[in-house]
């Protein structure tokens, strides 16, 4: 069967309209690419070119010096080791935090969407409140809670914090997905005698690959890009890369070298960009699968 293109001839039949469509798309693409290109181009300039001002000029003598500096010799405190030392910490924090918060969100979302709790909606509402609290405003009490669990400034602690702050978001996304999954599926599994967790693991999770990818990607970017939580909860041995990035970019009273700043920004963003480029297709498919159908 051929699919009919929705309303194809009615508007975009005329070639002019089709051209207009592409003009708009290219203009938008330029709008989206401009900052990235600007940052990359400036990160390739030597300092003399930076001093000349114009940020939009292309580098005359491109060099990777700024990248090298940002990677391994920019000062981030007493040490001048660039962002390199934080890479492994960032990975070490992000991966388990993403896995746990995604799976926990899936479990919660499933429980809220498919199990007839008396107040499932109310609980969802209460969880969603978490989406609207600026987390900076929660630092203090969170410190108290974590230190009473003796997890403050530990590896386990930072992961727990990311999981908790991620839960409202992941729960919401999964719930909206599972609302659209026929209840018969999990009922059938329960008829077969599978427990809640068993049903979830063997029946529901395999249905959820797309949405899992979406949520995992969103969580990955969120957690990877976090700075403040890492600074406060990770402890000295686990500081993520973004702390070093911020120390390089934001130093209050030191000389500015925008090329190094930009290079550091790009280096830090590379993992998330890679994740997006590699999984973009699943991402779109996953959202299409109903991540956000409300």
């Amino acid at each position: 069967m051929t699919q009919s293109l929705p309303g194809e001839r009615s508007v975009f039949g005329p070639r002019a309209a089709r051209l207009g469509l592409y003009a708009f798309l290219f203009a938008s693409a330029a709008f989206f690419l401009l900052p990235l290109l600007l940052v990359i181009s400036n990160s390739l300039k030597p300092m003399e070119e930076i001093r000349q001002g114009n940020l939009l000029a292309l580098p005359v003598k491109p060099t990777f010096d700024a990248w090298l500096t940002a990677w391994k010799s920019a000062c981030t405190g007493l040490e001048c080791g660039g962002v390199r030392p934080g890479l492994w910490n960032s990975i070490k924090i992000t991966v388990p935090a993403v896995v746990i918060s995604t799976l926990a969100g899936a479990l919660n979302g499933y429980a809220l969407a498919q199990w007839k709790w008396r107040h499932a909606n109310l609980i969802m509402l209460l969880v969603m409140v978490g989406l609207f609290i600026p987390y900076q405003a929660m630092l203090y009490p969170t410190v108290k809670i974590l230190s009473s669990l003796s997890l403050f400034r530990t590896y386990g602690g930072i992961i727990l914090v990311h999981v908790v702050y991620g839960l409202p978001y992941t729960t919401l996304l999964f719930r909206n997905f599972y609302v659209g999954v026929p209840e018969e599926i999990s009922r059938a599994a329960r008829m077969e005698g599978a427990s809640f967790l068993r049903t979830f693991r063997s029946v529901i999770l395999p249905l959820s690959t797309n949405i899992l990818v979406v949520v995992a990607i969103l969580q990955f970017t969120g957690i990877w890009n976090d700075y403040l939580l890492g600074l406060i909860f990770a402890g000295n041995d686990n500081l993520p890369m973004t702390v070093q990035l911020t120390n390089i970019v934001n130093n209050a009273r030191g000389s500015a070298s925008p090329n190094v700043n930009m290079a550091a920004a790009v280096i830090t963003a590379i993992p998330t960009l890679i994740v997006y480029f590699l999984s973009g297709r699943y991402f779109v498919r996953g959202i299409a699968a109903g991540a956000v159908k409300g």
């Binding site: 009919s4 309303g7 009615s10 989206f32 990235l36 969802m124 600026p134 405003a137 203090y140 911020t246």
Partner: protein, 278 residues
């Protein structure tokens, strides 16, 4: 059991924090918590504070423009991407990648682009249009719009993908019916397709609203609240008062006020959600 555990964690962290913050907002705590009750003094101070009021107003302006703008732009992109274009996945990737970029880097990049001397304005002037002016970043009346631009840049891709997914989910027969009835495309989208996607749009609005209320990083990186206090936001107000201005009490009051404010804004969504599902 496991579920209860996770909800328990959320409850302890979020509601424990809210309660604690609520308590703090009734004290005169400065840097360290102080448990002496002073009533609603902090709230009175808060709502007579010029900067707080400006912040709230800014949040409303930014929020409305950002949400409407992102929805409109994202939707437009989705509609166009749905027109069976060439290299769809390339375009989609381009539109989506800003989401991978942190708000801090987003803010910095746009700050560089919009810098009146070294950025876009300088470039255009350098090309000969001496009178070209695009100095919104430094104009106190317009700086807030630059935040809107950067915000839209960051989030339009996500909205595009969500709306695109919604569009792909539209029954093909519906499109056929539209063509049979001879309904012009714009009317079809506005009057038939989008109204049918209301839940999707509502989810988008909730996600964007959460960005607005928590919006801190973007402001910090782009305008630092300036020029003057032209682009201050409530979240920044709270954070500034927590630490730099050493006023835990007032900051807590601001946080609670924001929470109440956002719940009020969300009430319609919750209401419809309840009605629909029960």
């Amino acid at each position: 059991m496991t579920v209860v555990f996770f909800f328990g964690i959320v409850a302890v962290f979020f509601y424990g924090s809210i309660l604690w913050t609520g308590y703090m907002s009734l004290t005169r705590s400065t840097l360290m918590p102080n448990y002496n009750f002073v009533g609603f003094d902090q709230y009175i101070k808060l709502f007579t504070n010029h900067r707080w009021l400006v912040s709230c107003l800014n949040m409303v302006i930014f929020g409305v423009l950002y949400i409407v703008g992102t929805l409109a732009f994202g939707t437009l992109l989705a509609v166009f991407a749905d027109r069976r274009i060439r290299a769809e996945s390339l375009f989609r990737t381009i539109f989506l990648y800003p989401l991978a970029v942190s708000l801090i880097v987003t803010g910095l990049s746009w700050r560089w682009v919009l810098d009146p001397v070294n950025g876009l304005q300088g470039l255009v002037r350098g090309m000969g249009w001496e009178n070209f002016t695009f100095d919104w970043l430094t104009d106190p009346n317009r700086a807030i719009y630059t935040l809107v631009i950067a915000g839209i840049w960051h989030s339009a891709g996500l909205i595009m993908v969500i709306i695109l997914a919604g569009l792909r989910g539209v029954d093909e027969d519906l499109w056929k019916a539209i063509r049979m009835e001879g309904i012009p495309l714009w009317r079809a989208y506005l009057q038939v397709i989008f109204p049918g996607m209301r839940p999707v749009v509502a989810s988008c609005v909730v996600l964007l609203m959460s960005d607005v209320i928590r919006g801190y990083d973007l402001v910090i990186a782009m305008t630092k609240g300036g020029p003057g206090i032209a682009t201050e936001m409530p979240a920044k107000f709270a954070v500034d008062y927590y630490f730099a201005r050493v006023n835990l009490g007032l900051a807590s009051a601001a946080s609670i006020a924001m929470l109440v404010l956002s719940l009020l804004l969300l009430a319609p969504y919750f209401y419809s959600e309840f009605r629909r599902r029960t």
